[in-house]
């Protein structure tokens, strides 16, 4: 699940895009993005988990840039020291989980044309979000 409901991505909730639906172009649309699986020993931390159709399965968004210092929001444990800041709980309309990695300066992604790309933490947030939608009509392309 990426971006908002008006600009869904290829793996949006209860949906699966056909190639023809990806009108922004398969080379300009994310298919997969890295996440960190959070250690979850004493409390539930849903980041980086396999998912199903349950209502708590909010999974990944481009609301925040890669490896953001701004916190994820959802069912998670605040661990900023290992790059996993979080505000636990809160409204279901505020839930957001950022793409995160252990790479320096960015994350790896797979585009819908099956190419692997490296996305910098400092990517323009609006370009990053546009790359997560399949038919947003934006002219966003991967930065060089």
């Amino acid at each position: 699940m990426v971006a908002n409901q008006l600009s869904k991505g290829p793996f949006y909730y209860l949906y699966g895009a056909k190639f023809g639906d990806i009108s922004d172009g398969t080379s300009n649309t994310f298919a997969m993005m890295e996440m960190l699986q959070a250690p979850s020993l004493t409390v539930i931390d849903r980041r980086g988990r396999p998912w199903n159709e349950d209502n708590s399965c909010y999974q990944l968004s481009t609301n925040l840039p890669p490896n953001s210092r701004a916190p994820d929001r959802g069912t998670c444990l605040d661990q900023p020291a290992i790059g996993l800041p979080c505000i636990d709980g809160g409204s279901n309309s505020q839930r957001q989980l950022a793409a995160r990695s252990r790479h320096t300066g960015g994350i790896n992604v797979v585009m819908c044309d099956a190419s692997v790309q490296f996305i910098s933490d400092s990517i323009d947030i609006l370009v990053y979000r546009a790359l997560s939608t399949q038919a947003g009509g934006e002219v966003a392309q991967l930065p060089n």
């Binding site: 908002n4 708590s56 840039p65 069912t75 809160g90 409204s91 279901n92 309309s93 505020q94």
Partner: protein, 137 residues
């Protein structure tokens, strides 16, 4: 000779502050958010840097937000996004909380979030207090 020593010391003192954003000097920020003059009960605020720097953010509770220096932005200009939540009147079963919870919706216009026109400038010395009087329409 004494003067030269002082200058060298000053240069060395700057070295840990440079490079790759590691030297960002994060600041505590706080403020208020109202919608049509009333405190925004529940929401989120995010500071996106205009240019270099990292993104920071937190939650809005009863019309106020507060980020510690550890969680806050470094000095510079920011594009600010604010979201607000309100109940829809419907509920759903939350499998983590194991109870029925209100389904909420984000109700603030895009000009405050996805297409935000809100900005602020964080300073290195002085108070970083920002008030955002918003309108629902």
């Amino acid at each position: 000779m004494y003067v030269r020593f002082v200058v060298l010391t000053a240069v060395l003192a700057l070295i840990p502050l440079s490079g790759c954003g590691k030297g960002e000097q994060f600041q505590a920020v706080a403020g208020t958010v109202t919608v049509d003059g009333k405190p925004l009960k529940s929401g989120g605020i995010t500071f996106f840097p205009v240019g270099e720097g990292s993104t920071s953010g937190g939650q809005i509770i009863d019309g106020a937000f507060e980020l510690s220096a550890e969680r806050g932005p470094s000095p510079g200009k920011y594009r600010v996004e604010i979201t607000g939540s309100r109940p829809t009147g419907k509920t759903e079963f939350d499998i983590d909380l194991k109870k029925e919870v209100d389904i909420e919706e984000q109700f603030l216009p895009p000009r405050y979030n996805l297409k935000s026109e809100l900005t602020c400038e964080v300073v290195a010395s002085g108070e970083n207090k920002f008030d955002f009087p918003l309108k629902s329409k």
